[in-house]
Protein backbone atom coordinates (compact mmCIF):
# COMPACT_ATOMS: atom_id res chain seq x y z
CA UNK A 1 0.00 0.00 0.00
CA UNK A 2 1.17 3.47 -0.88
CA UNK A 3 0.41 6.40 1.42
CA UNK A 4 0.47 10.02 0.29
CA UNK A 5 0.71 12.70 2.98
CA UNK A 6 0.17 16.31 1.86
CA UNK A 7 1.63 18.71 4.42
CA UNK A 8 1.72 22.47 4.91
CA UNK A 9 4.44 24.85 6.04
CA UNK A 10 2.92 27.17 8.65
CA UNK A 11 3.89 29.51 11.46
CA UNK A 12 5.04 27.53 14.50
CA UNK A 13 2.09 26.84 16.83
CA UNK A 14 3.81 28.63 19.73
CA UNK A 15 4.26 31.92 17.89
CA UNK A 16 1.72 34.64 18.55
CA UNK A 17 1.32 36.33 15.18
CA UNK A 18 0.88 40.05 14.62
CA UNK A 19 -1.10 41.78 11.94
CA UNK A 20 0.98 44.01 9.62
CA UNK A 21 0.46 47.75 10.17
CA UNK A 22 -0.90 48.13 6.60
CA UNK A 23 -3.49 45.39 7.25
CA UNK A 24 -2.50 43.31 4.22
CA UNK A 25 -1.76 40.17 6.23
CA UNK A 26 0.14 38.89 9.21
CA UNK A 27 3.83 39.59 9.65
CA UNK A 28 5.81 36.45 8.80
CA UNK A 29 9.25 38.04 8.72
CA UNK A 30 11.73 36.24 10.96
CA UNK A 31 8.98 34.04 12.37
CA UNK A 32 9.71 30.39 13.11
CA UNK A 33 8.02 28.09 10.57
CA UNK A 34 7.11 24.44 11.08
CA UNK A 35 5.12 21.51 9.74
CA UNK A 36 1.45 22.15 10.52
CA UNK A 37 0.78 20.13 13.73
CA UNK A 38 -2.10 18.14 12.19
CA UNK A 39 0.08 17.29 9.19
CA UNK A 40 2.75 16.02 11.57
CA UNK A 41 0.14 13.66 13.02
CA UNK A 42 -0.65 12.57 9.44
CA UNK A 43 3.02 11.77 8.75
CA UNK A 44 3.29 9.89 12.03
CA UNK A 45 0.23 7.77 11.22
CA UNK A 46 1.58 6.93 7.76
CA UNK A 47 4.96 5.96 9.20
CA UNK A 48 3.26 3.78 11.82
CA UNK A 49 1.32 2.01 9.04
CA UNK A 50 4.63 1.31 7.36
CA UNK A 51 6.20 0.08 10.58
CA UNK A 52 3.21 -2.21 11.11
CA UNK A 53 3.81 -3.73 7.65
CA UNK A 54 0.56 -2.31 6.25
CA UNK A 55 2.15 0.28 3.97
CA UNK A 56 5.18 -0.04 1.72
CA UNK A 57 5.85 3.57 0.88
CA UNK A 58 5.14 6.95 2.47
CA UNK A 59 5.36 10.04 0.27
CA UNK A 60 5.28 13.54 1.75
CA UNK A 61 4.16 16.32 -0.56
CA UNK A 62 3.63 20.03 -0.21
CA UNK A 63 2.49 22.86 -2.45
CA UNK A 64 4.40 25.98 -1.54
CA UNK A 65 7.56 28.05 -1.80
CA UNK A 66 11.09 26.66 -2.15
CA UNK A 67 11.61 27.21 1.56
CA UNK A 68 9.04 24.47 2.26
CA UNK A 69 11.79 21.94 1.45
CA UNK A 70 12.79 22.42 5.07
CA UNK A 71 9.44 21.03 6.25
CA UNK A 72 9.59 18.18 3.74
CA UNK A 73 13.04 17.27 5.14
CA UNK A 74 11.45 17.15 8.58
CA UNK A 75 8.89 14.68 7.23
CA UNK A 76 11.69 12.57 5.74
CA UNK A 77 13.46 12.61 9.11
CA UNK A 78 10.22 11.45 10.74
CA UNK A 79 10.14 8.43 8.42
CA UNK A 80 8.67 9.37 5.03
CA UNK A 81 10.48 7.60 2.17
CA UNK A 82 10.50 10.42 -0.34
CA UNK A 83 9.17 13.92 -0.82
CA UNK A 84 7.70 16.06 -3.57
CA UNK A 85 7.63 19.84 -3.62
CA UNK A 86 5.13 21.44 -5.98
CA UNK A 87 6.77 24.81 -6.10
CA UNK A 88 4.79 28.04 -6.32
CA UNK A 89 5.31 31.45 -4.79
CA UNK A 90 1.59 32.21 -4.91
CA UNK A 91 -0.20 31.50 -1.66
CA UNK A 92 -2.84 29.23 -3.11
CA UNK A 93 -6.29 28.64 -1.68
CA UNK A 94 -7.62 25.16 -0.78
CA UNK A 95 -9.43 24.40 -4.07
CA UNK A 96 -6.29 25.15 -6.12
CA UNK A 97 -4.19 23.04 -3.74
CA UNK A 98 -6.70 20.19 -3.95
CA UNK A 99 -6.59 20.32 -7.79
CA UNK A 100 -2.79 20.18 -7.79
CA UNK A 101 -2.79 17.28 -5.33
CA UNK A 102 -5.38 15.47 -7.45
CA UNK A 103 -3.09 15.74 -10.49
CA UNK A 104 -0.19 14.43 -8.41
CA UNK A 105 -2.32 11.64 -6.98
CA UNK A 106 -3.30 10.57 -10.50
CA UNK A 107 0.40 10.12 -11.18
CA UNK A 108 1.26 8.36 -7.91
CA UNK A 109 -1.97 6.37 -7.36
CA UNK A 110 -1.85 6.17 -3.55
CA UNK A 111 -4.20 3.78 -1.75
CA UNK A 112 -4.54 6.16 1.15
CA UNK A 113 -4.04 9.92 1.41
CA UNK A 114 -3.74 11.35 4.92
CA UNK A 115 -4.23 15.08 5.51
CA UNK A 116 -4.22 17.18 8.66
CA UNK A 117 -7.79 18.22 9.47
CA UNK A 118 -6.93 21.91 9.23
CA UNK A 119 -3.94 24.20 9.04
CA UNK A 120 -3.37 26.45 12.01
CA UNK A 121 -2.87 29.55 9.83
CA UNK A 122 -5.86 29.59 7.45
CA UNK A 123 -8.09 27.47 9.75
CA UNK A 124 -10.14 26.55 6.66
CA UNK A 125 -10.57 22.81 7.15
CA UNK A 126 -11.21 22.29 3.42
CA UNK A 127 -8.33 20.75 1.47
CA UNK A 128 -8.76 17.07 2.47
CA UNK A 129 -12.49 16.78 1.65
CA UNK A 130 -12.04 18.88 -1.53
CA UNK A 131 -9.30 16.51 -2.71
CA UNK A 132 -11.51 13.52 -1.85
CA UNK A 133 -14.43 14.93 -3.85
CA UNK A 134 -12.27 15.75 -6.90
CA UNK A 135 -10.79 12.24 -6.74
CA UNK A 136 -14.16 10.53 -6.24
CA UNK A 137 -12.89 8.97 -3.02
CA UNK A 138 -14.60 8.44 0.34
CA UNK A 139 -13.32 10.33 3.35
CA UNK A 140 -12.92 9.88 7.07
CA UNK A 141 -12.36 13.31 8.57
CA UNK A 142 -11.22 14.17 12.14
CA UNK A 143 -9.87 10.64 12.65
CA UNK A 144 -8.89 9.44 16.10
CA UNK A 145 -8.34 5.81 15.09
CA UNK A 146 -7.63 3.90 11.86
CA UNK A 147 -7.80 0.24 11.05
CA UNK A 148 -7.02 -1.28 7.68
CA UNK A 149 -8.17 -4.79 6.81
CA UNK A 150 -9.57 -6.68 3.87
CA UNK A 151 -9.01 -3.81 1.49
CA UNK A 152 -11.13 -1.43 3.56
CA UNK A 153 -10.32 1.18 6.14
CA UNK A 154 -12.28 1.70 9.34
CA UNK A 155 -12.08 5.23 10.70
CA UNK A 156 -13.24 6.44 14.09
CA UNK A 157 -14.07 10.13 13.88
CA UNK A 158 -14.33 12.86 16.51
CA UNK A 159 -17.69 14.53 15.95
CA UNK A 160 -19.84 16.97 17.92
CA UNK A 161 -21.32 14.90 20.70
CA UNK A 162 -18.92 11.96 20.58
CA UNK A 163 -17.42 9.45 18.17
CA UNK A 164 -18.56 7.95 14.88
CA UNK A 165 -17.08 4.95 13.10
CA UNK A 166 -17.22 4.54 9.31
CA UNK A 167 -15.93 1.90 6.91
CA UNK A 168 -14.50 3.22 3.63
CA UNK A 169 -13.47 1.51 0.43
CA UNK A 170 -9.90 2.17 -0.75
CA UNK A 171 -8.46 4.36 -2.13
CA UNK A 172 -9.62 6.74 0.57
CA UNK A 173 -8.84 10.03 2.25
CA UNK A 174 -8.37 10.51 5.98
CA UNK A 175 -7.91 13.76 7.90
CA UNK A 176 -6.30 13.62 11.32
CA UNK A 177 -7.54 14.91 14.63
CA UNK A 178 -5.37 15.58 17.65
CA UNK A 179 -5.76 12.25 19.35
CA UNK A 180 -4.92 9.95 16.45
CA UNK A 181 -1.35 9.65 17.73
CA UNK A 182 1.46 11.53 19.39
CA UNK A 183 4.13 12.34 16.80
CA UNK A 184 7.69 11.29 17.55
CA UNK A 185 10.70 13.59 17.54
CA UNK A 186 13.20 13.15 14.74
CA UNK A 187 16.41 11.55 16.02
CA UNK A 188 19.78 12.93 14.93
CA UNK A 189 20.68 9.82 12.87
CA UNK A 190 17.31 10.06 11.12
CA UNK A 191 17.85 13.76 10.42
CA UNK A 192 21.19 12.85 8.80
CA UNK A 193 19.61 10.01 6.82
CA UNK A 194 16.83 12.32 5.63
CA UNK A 195 19.37 14.44 3.78
CA UNK A 196 20.00 11.54 1.41
CA UNK A 197 16.36 10.67 0.78
CA UNK A 198 14.93 11.69 -2.61
CA UNK A 199 13.14 15.00 -2.98
CA UNK A 200 11.57 15.87 -6.34
CA UNK A 201 10.46 19.31 -7.37
CA UNK A 202 7.71 20.05 -9.83
CA UNK A 203 5.32 22.94 -10.54
CA UNK A 204 1.56 23.29 -10.94
CA UNK A 205 1.94 23.89 -14.70
CA UNK A 206 4.11 20.76 -15.10
CA UNK A 207 1.22 18.89 -13.53
CA UNK A 208 -1.11 20.54 -16.01
CA UNK A 209 -3.04 22.50 -13.41
CA UNK A 210 -3.88 26.13 -13.83
CA UNK A 211 -3.74 27.16 -10.22
CA UNK A 212 -5.81 30.24 -9.58
CA UNK A 213 -7.32 31.76 -6.49
CA UNK A 214 -10.97 32.80 -6.60
CA UNK A 215 -11.03 34.75 -3.35
CA UNK A 216 -9.48 38.12 -2.58
CA UNK A 217 -8.27 39.00 0.89
CA UNK A 218 -9.40 42.64 1.15
CA UNK A 219 -7.86 43.25 4.58
CA UNK A 220 -6.53 41.54 7.67
CA UNK A 221 -7.17 43.23 10.98
CA UNK A 222 -6.29 42.49 14.56
CA UNK A 223 -9.22 41.15 16.59
CA UNK A 224 -10.90 43.45 19.11
CA UNK A 225 -8.63 43.67 22.15
CA UNK A 226 -9.94 42.20 25.33
CA UNK A 227 -8.78 44.10 28.41
CA UNK A 228 -7.84 42.29 31.58
CA UNK A 229 -10.40 42.92 34.29
CA UNK A 230 -9.89 42.81 38.01
CA UNK A 231 -8.67 40.28 40.53
CA UNK A 232 -11.13 39.39 43.24
CA UNK A 233 -9.96 38.34 46.69
CA UNK A 234 -12.46 35.63 47.51
CA UNK A 235 -15.20 33.38 46.16
CA UNK A 236 -17.69 35.55 48.01
CA UNK A 237 -16.51 38.67 46.18
CA UNK A 238 -16.59 36.79 42.86
CA UNK A 239 -20.20 35.67 43.36
CA UNK A 240 -21.17 39.20 44.40
CA UNK A 241 -19.59 40.70 41.26
CA UNK A 242 -21.23 38.15 38.97
CA UNK A 243 -24.62 38.76 40.57
CA UNK A 244 -24.62 42.50 41.04
CA UNK A 245 -22.06 43.98 38.65
CA UNK A 246 -21.96 41.69 35.60
CA UNK A 247 -25.52 40.43 36.29
CA UNK A 248 -24.83 37.11 34.58
CA UNK A 249 -26.08 34.85 37.36
CA UNK A 250 -29.26 35.03 39.37
Amino acid sequence: MKVLVPIKRVVDANVKVRVKPDHTGVDLNNVKMAVNPFCEIAIEEAVRLKEAGKAEEVIAVTVGPGAAQEQLRTCLALGADRAILVETDTELQPLAIARILKALSDRESPDLTIFGKQSIDGDNSQTGPMFAALSGMPQGTFASELNIEDGKITVTREIDGGLQTLRLSLPAVVTTDLRLNEPRYASLPNIMKAKKKPMDTTTPSELGVEAENTQEILSVEPPPERQAGIKVESVEELVDKLRNEAKVIA
Binding site: G122, Q126, G128, G162, S219, V220, E221, V235, V248, I249
Partner: protein, 309 residues
Protein backbone atom coordinates in the same frame (compact mmCIF):
# COMPACT_ATOMS: atom_id res chain seq x y z
CA UNK B 1 -30.17 36.11 -4.96
CA UNK B 2 -31.20 32.70 -3.73
CA UNK B 3 -29.77 30.80 -0.82
CA UNK B 4 -29.72 27.10 -0.10
CA UNK B 5 -29.27 26.57 3.64
CA UNK B 6 -28.41 23.04 4.70
CA UNK B 7 -30.06 22.33 8.06
CA UNK B 8 -28.27 20.44 10.81
CA UNK B 9 -30.29 17.80 12.66
CA UNK B 10 -30.21 14.28 14.05
CA UNK B 11 -33.32 12.99 12.18
CA UNK B 12 -35.30 13.84 15.30
CA UNK B 13 -34.84 17.52 15.99
CA UNK B 14 -33.34 20.54 14.32
CA UNK B 15 -30.02 21.66 15.86
CA UNK B 16 -30.27 25.18 17.28
CA UNK B 17 -27.20 26.30 15.27
CA UNK B 18 -29.36 26.18 12.12
CA UNK B 19 -31.19 29.25 13.46
CA UNK B 20 -27.89 31.15 13.76
CA UNK B 21 -26.98 30.21 10.20
CA UNK B 22 -30.41 31.45 9.11
CA UNK B 23 -29.59 34.88 10.56
CA UNK B 24 -26.44 34.97 8.44
CA UNK B 25 -28.51 33.96 5.41
CA UNK B 26 -31.02 36.75 6.11
CA UNK B 27 -28.11 39.21 6.24
CA UNK B 28 -26.98 38.03 2.80
CA UNK B 29 -30.58 38.54 1.61
CA UNK B 30 -32.74 36.87 -1.02
CA UNK B 31 -35.00 33.82 -1.08
CA UNK B 32 -33.92 31.20 1.42
CA UNK B 33 -34.64 27.50 0.92
CA UNK B 34 -33.82 25.12 3.73
CA UNK B 35 -32.66 21.61 2.90
CA UNK B 36 -33.40 18.82 5.37
CA UNK B 37 -31.57 15.69 4.24
CA UNK B 38 -31.96 12.65 6.44
CA UNK B 39 -34.01 9.54 7.04
CA UNK B 40 -37.41 9.47 8.75
CA UNK B 41 -36.92 13.10 9.62
CA UNK B 42 -40.53 14.31 9.45
CA UNK B 43 -40.39 16.05 12.83
CA UNK B 44 -37.35 18.03 11.70
CA UNK B 45 -39.23 19.24 8.66
CA UNK B 46 -42.07 20.58 10.79
CA UNK B 47 -39.60 22.56 12.91
CA UNK B 48 -37.77 23.77 9.82
CA UNK B 49 -40.97 24.97 8.16
CA UNK B 50 -41.75 27.06 11.24
CA UNK B 51 -38.56 29.11 11.08
CA UNK B 52 -39.29 32.72 10.15
CA UNK B 53 -37.75 33.87 6.87
CA UNK B 54 -37.67 30.52 5.13
CA UNK B 55 -39.21 30.40 1.65
CA UNK B 56 -39.54 26.64 1.34
CA UNK B 57 -38.21 23.51 2.96
CA UNK B 58 -36.71 20.87 0.69
CA UNK B 59 -37.00 17.39 2.11
CA UNK B 60 -34.62 14.64 0.98
CA UNK B 61 -35.77 11.68 3.04
CA UNK B 62 -33.88 8.49 2.21
CA UNK B 63 -31.81 5.83 3.98
CA UNK B 64 -28.75 7.06 2.02
CA UNK B 65 -28.81 10.25 4.11
CA UNK B 66 -29.52 8.64 7.51
CA UNK B 67 -26.02 9.15 8.91
CA UNK B 68 -25.10 12.29 7.01
CA UNK B 69 -22.34 10.47 5.11
CA UNK B 70 -20.29 13.24 3.48
CA UNK B 71 -20.11 11.56 0.06
CA UNK B 72 -23.90 11.23 -0.34
CA UNK B 73 -24.87 14.52 1.28
CA UNK B 74 -22.31 16.47 -0.76
CA UNK B 75 -23.52 14.93 -4.02
CA UNK B 76 -27.10 15.90 -3.13
CA UNK B 77 -26.23 19.45 -2.04
CA UNK B 78 -24.03 20.06 -5.09
CA UNK B 79 -26.84 18.81 -7.35
CA UNK B 80 -29.48 21.05 -5.77
CA UNK B 81 -27.10 23.92 -5.02
CA UNK B 82 -26.08 24.49 -8.64
CA UNK B 83 -29.23 26.57 -9.03
CA UNK B 84 -28.52 28.94 -6.16
CA UNK B 85 -26.23 31.94 -5.65
CA UNK B 86 -25.25 30.91 -2.10
CA UNK B 87 -24.98 27.66 -0.15
CA UNK B 88 -24.72 28.03 3.62
CA UNK B 89 -24.35 25.64 6.51
CA UNK B 90 -22.88 25.63 10.02
CA UNK B 91 -19.13 25.33 10.58
CA UNK B 92 -19.61 22.30 12.84
CA UNK B 93 -18.10 18.83 12.57
CA UNK B 94 -20.96 18.05 10.18
CA UNK B 95 -20.61 21.11 7.99
CA UNK B 96 -16.82 20.90 7.94
CA UNK B 97 -17.19 17.32 6.72
CA UNK B 98 -19.45 17.69 3.69
CA UNK B 99 -19.32 21.34 2.61
CA UNK B 100 -15.79 21.38 1.10
CA UNK B 101 -16.85 18.40 -1.02
CA UNK B 102 -19.83 20.43 -2.27
CA UNK B 103 -17.54 23.33 -3.21
CA UNK B 104 -15.10 21.03 -5.01
CA UNK B 105 -17.90 19.29 -6.93
CA UNK B 106 -19.17 22.69 -8.05
CA UNK B 107 -15.64 23.85 -8.87
CA UNK B 108 -15.78 26.84 -6.52
CA UNK B 109 -13.96 27.92 -3.38
CA UNK B 110 -15.41 27.90 0.12
CA UNK B 111 -15.35 30.67 2.70
CA UNK B 112 -15.07 28.92 6.07
CA UNK B 113 -16.23 29.93 9.52
CA UNK B 114 -17.58 33.40 8.78
CA UNK B 115 -18.45 35.70 11.69
CA UNK B 116 -19.74 38.72 9.73
CA UNK B 117 -21.58 39.27 6.45
CA UNK B 118 -20.07 42.48 5.05
CA UNK B 119 -21.75 42.22 1.63
CA UNK B 120 -23.37 39.40 -0.33
CA UNK B 121 -19.92 38.39 -1.62
CA UNK B 122 -17.73 39.63 1.24
CA UNK B 123 -17.33 38.05 4.66
CA UNK B 124 -15.16 38.31 7.75
CA UNK B 125 -13.55 35.25 9.24
CA UNK B 126 -10.98 34.56 11.93
CA UNK B 127 -7.59 33.16 10.91
CA UNK B 128 -4.53 32.17 12.98
CA UNK B 129 -6.66 30.95 15.91
CA UNK B 130 -8.55 34.22 15.96
CA UNK B 131 -5.41 36.34 16.24
CA UNK B 132 -6.40 38.05 12.99
CA UNK B 133 -9.68 38.72 11.21
CA UNK B 134 -9.61 38.49 7.41
CA UNK B 135 -12.13 40.20 5.14
CA UNK B 136 -12.59 37.86 2.19
CA UNK B 137 -14.32 38.61 -1.11
CA UNK B 138 -15.46 35.60 -3.11
CA UNK B 139 -15.41 35.92 -6.90
CA UNK B 140 -16.99 32.52 -7.42
CA UNK B 141 -20.32 32.21 -9.22
CA UNK B 142 -21.74 30.25 -6.28
CA UNK B 143 -20.70 31.32 -2.79
CA UNK B 144 -20.20 28.28 -0.56
CA UNK B 145 -20.04 29.39 3.05
CA UNK B 146 -19.77 27.81 6.47
CA UNK B 147 -20.99 29.95 9.35
CA UNK B 148 -19.69 30.21 12.90
CA UNK B 149 -22.85 29.88 15.00
CA UNK B 150 -21.66 32.16 17.80
CA UNK B 151 -21.05 34.95 15.27
CA UNK B 152 -24.80 35.41 14.70
CA UNK B 153 -27.81 35.61 17.01
CA UNK B 154 -30.40 32.89 16.35
CA UNK B 155 -33.73 33.68 14.68
CA UNK B 156 -36.89 32.77 16.61
CA UNK B 157 -37.80 29.08 16.59
CA UNK B 158 -41.34 29.75 15.40
CA UNK B 159 -43.42 32.19 13.42
CA UNK B 160 -42.80 31.11 9.83
CA UNK B 161 -44.87 28.93 7.57
CA UNK B 162 -42.74 27.70 4.73
CA UNK B 163 -44.02 25.28 2.12
CA UNK B 164 -42.53 21.79 1.99
CA UNK B 165 -41.28 20.16 -1.19
CA UNK B 166 -39.93 16.63 -1.52
CA UNK B 167 -36.65 16.02 -3.35
CA UNK B 168 -36.84 12.83 -5.36
CA UNK B 169 -33.29 12.38 -6.61
CA UNK B 170 -31.25 9.98 -4.48
CA UNK B 171 -27.47 10.10 -4.28
CA UNK B 172 -26.11 6.87 -2.88
CA UNK B 173 -22.46 6.61 -3.91
CA UNK B 174 -21.73 3.47 -1.90
CA UNK B 175 -18.22 4.67 -1.05
CA UNK B 176 -18.64 4.67 2.71
CA UNK B 177 -20.78 2.86 5.24
CA UNK B 178 -21.83 3.72 8.75
CA UNK B 179 -20.58 1.29 11.41
CA UNK B 180 -21.42 2.79 14.79
CA UNK B 181 -21.74 5.90 16.85
CA UNK B 182 -21.08 6.69 20.50
CA UNK B 183 -22.90 9.85 21.40
CA UNK B 184 -22.41 11.16 24.91
CA UNK B 185 -25.85 11.90 26.31
CA UNK B 186 -26.18 14.69 28.80
CA UNK B 187 -28.98 16.48 30.59
CA UNK B 188 -26.98 19.68 30.41
CA UNK B 189 -27.26 22.25 27.61
CA UNK B 190 -25.10 21.86 24.52
CA UNK B 191 -21.70 23.54 24.83
CA UNK B 192 -22.08 25.79 21.82
CA UNK B 193 -25.62 26.85 22.75
CA UNK B 194 -25.28 27.25 26.54
CA UNK B 195 -25.48 30.72 28.08
CA UNK B 196 -23.05 29.68 30.83
CA UNK B 197 -20.04 27.40 30.36
CA UNK B 198 -17.69 26.13 33.04
CA UNK B 199 -14.50 24.49 31.77
CA UNK B 200 -11.72 22.56 33.47
CA UNK B 201 -8.11 22.26 32.44
CA UNK B 202 -5.02 20.32 33.36
CA UNK B 203 -5.29 21.78 36.86
CA UNK B 204 -8.30 19.52 37.51
CA UNK B 205 -5.75 16.67 37.78
CA UNK B 206 -8.22 13.85 36.99
CA UNK B 207 -11.53 13.04 35.34
CA UNK B 208 -12.95 12.23 38.76
CA UNK B 209 -12.34 15.83 39.87
CA UNK B 210 -14.60 17.14 37.07
CA UNK B 211 -17.41 16.21 39.51
CA UNK B 212 -16.47 19.43 41.30
CA UNK B 213 -17.64 21.32 38.20
CA UNK B 214 -20.84 19.28 37.83
CA UNK B 215 -22.45 20.57 41.02
CA UNK B 216 -21.79 24.16 39.96
CA UNK B 217 -22.98 23.48 36.40
CA UNK B 218 -26.23 22.02 37.73
CA UNK B 219 -26.90 25.07 39.88
CA UNK B 220 -26.15 27.49 37.02
CA UNK B 221 -27.71 25.48 34.21
CA UNK B 222 -24.28 25.52 32.59
CA UNK B 223 -22.56 23.28 30.06
CA UNK B 224 -19.21 21.74 30.97
CA UNK B 225 -16.19 22.16 28.73
CA UNK B 226 -12.50 21.36 28.90
CA UNK B 227 -9.16 22.49 27.57
CA UNK B 228 -7.21 20.38 25.11
CA UNK B 229 -4.76 19.50 27.90
CA UNK B 230 -7.58 17.95 29.94
CA UNK B 231 -8.88 15.99 26.92
CA UNK B 232 -5.41 14.82 25.87
CA UNK B 233 -4.76 13.67 29.44
CA UNK B 234 -7.88 11.50 29.16
CA UNK B 235 -9.81 13.29 31.93
CA UNK B 236 -12.86 13.85 29.71
CA UNK B 237 -14.10 12.96 26.19
CA UNK B 238 -13.11 14.89 23.07
CA UNK B 239 -16.53 16.43 22.48
CA UNK B 240 -15.96 18.66 25.52
CA UNK B 241 -12.91 20.39 24.04
CA UNK B 242 -13.13 24.15 23.69
CA UNK B 243 -10.53 25.80 21.47
CA UNK B 244 -9.20 26.54 17.99
CA UNK B 245 -9.66 22.95 16.87
CA UNK B 246 -12.47 22.00 19.24
CA UNK B 247 -15.70 23.84 19.89
CA UNK B 248 -16.02 27.60 19.65
CA UNK B 249 -18.22 29.02 22.40
CA UNK B 250 -19.36 32.54 23.24
CA UNK B 251 -21.65 32.31 26.27
CA UNK B 252 -22.73 35.15 28.56
CA UNK B 253 -20.48 33.71 31.25
CA UNK B 254 -17.40 31.51 30.81
CA UNK B 255 -15.70 30.15 33.90
CA UNK B 256 -12.19 28.77 33.26
CA UNK B 257 -10.96 26.57 36.09
CA UNK B 258 -7.38 25.35 36.24
CA UNK B 259 -6.82 26.48 32.65
CA UNK B 260 -3.60 28.38 31.96
CA UNK B 261 -4.89 29.99 28.75
CA UNK B 262 -2.92 28.76 25.72
CA UNK B 263 -3.76 30.79 22.58
CA UNK B 264 -5.43 27.73 21.10
CA UNK B 265 -7.85 27.63 24.05
CA UNK B 266 -8.45 31.38 24.03
CA UNK B 267 -9.42 31.08 20.35
CA UNK B 268 -12.39 29.00 21.42
CA UNK B 269 -13.80 31.22 24.17
CA UNK B 270 -12.51 34.77 24.07
CA UNK B 271 -15.72 36.12 22.55
CA UNK B 272 -17.60 35.19 25.73
CA UNK B 273 -19.31 38.21 27.29
CA UNK B 274 -17.91 37.74 30.81
CA UNK B 275 -14.88 35.60 31.55
CA UNK B 276 -13.96 34.31 35.00
CA UNK B 277 -10.63 32.60 35.67
CA UNK B 278 -9.84 30.53 38.73
CA UNK B 279 -6.20 29.47 38.87
CA UNK B 280 -3.61 29.21 41.59
CA UNK B 281 -0.87 30.55 39.28
CA UNK B 282 -1.27 34.31 39.30
CA UNK B 283 0.88 34.62 36.16
CA UNK B 284 -1.36 32.33 34.07
CA UNK B 285 -2.12 34.04 30.71
CA UNK B 286 -5.86 33.40 31.21
CA UNK B 287 -5.91 36.31 33.68
CA UNK B 288 -4.94 38.72 30.88
CA UNK B 289 -8.35 38.29 29.27
CA UNK B 290 -10.48 37.50 32.34
CA UNK B 291 -12.97 40.07 33.59
CA UNK B 292 -12.78 38.55 37.05
CA UNK B 293 -9.75 36.61 38.19
CA UNK B 294 -9.49 34.61 41.38
CA UNK B 295 -6.02 33.43 42.36
CA UNK B 296 -6.79 30.41 44.49
CA UNK B 297 -6.43 26.66 44.60
CA UNK B 298 -9.41 25.28 42.68
CA UNK B 299 -9.94 22.47 45.15
CA UNK B 300 -10.67 25.10 47.79
CA UNK B 301 -12.52 27.56 45.55
CA UNK B 302 -14.92 25.18 43.77
CA UNK B 303 -16.70 23.75 46.85
CA UNK B 304 -17.04 27.31 48.21
CA UNK B 305 -18.45 28.51 44.89
CA UNK B 306 -20.99 25.69 44.78
CA UNK B 307 -22.07 26.45 48.34
CA UNK B 308 -22.60 30.13 47.58
CA UNK B 309 -24.70 29.75 44.45
Amino acid sequence: MSILLVAEHDNDSLKPVTRNVLTAALEVGGDIDLLVAGSDCGSVVDQAAGLPGVNKVLLADHAAYAHQLAENIAALVADLGAGYSHILTAHTSLGKNFLPRVAALLGVGQVSDIITVAADDTFKRPIYAGNAIATVKSNDAIKVISVRGTGFDPVAAEGGSASIEAVDSVHDLGLSEFVSEEIVSSERPELTAASIVISGGRGMQSGENFKLLEGIADKLGAAIGASRAAVDAGFVPNDMQVGQTGKIVAPDLYIAVGISGAIQHLAGMKDSKVIVAINKDEDAPIFQIADYGLVEDLFKALPELEAQL
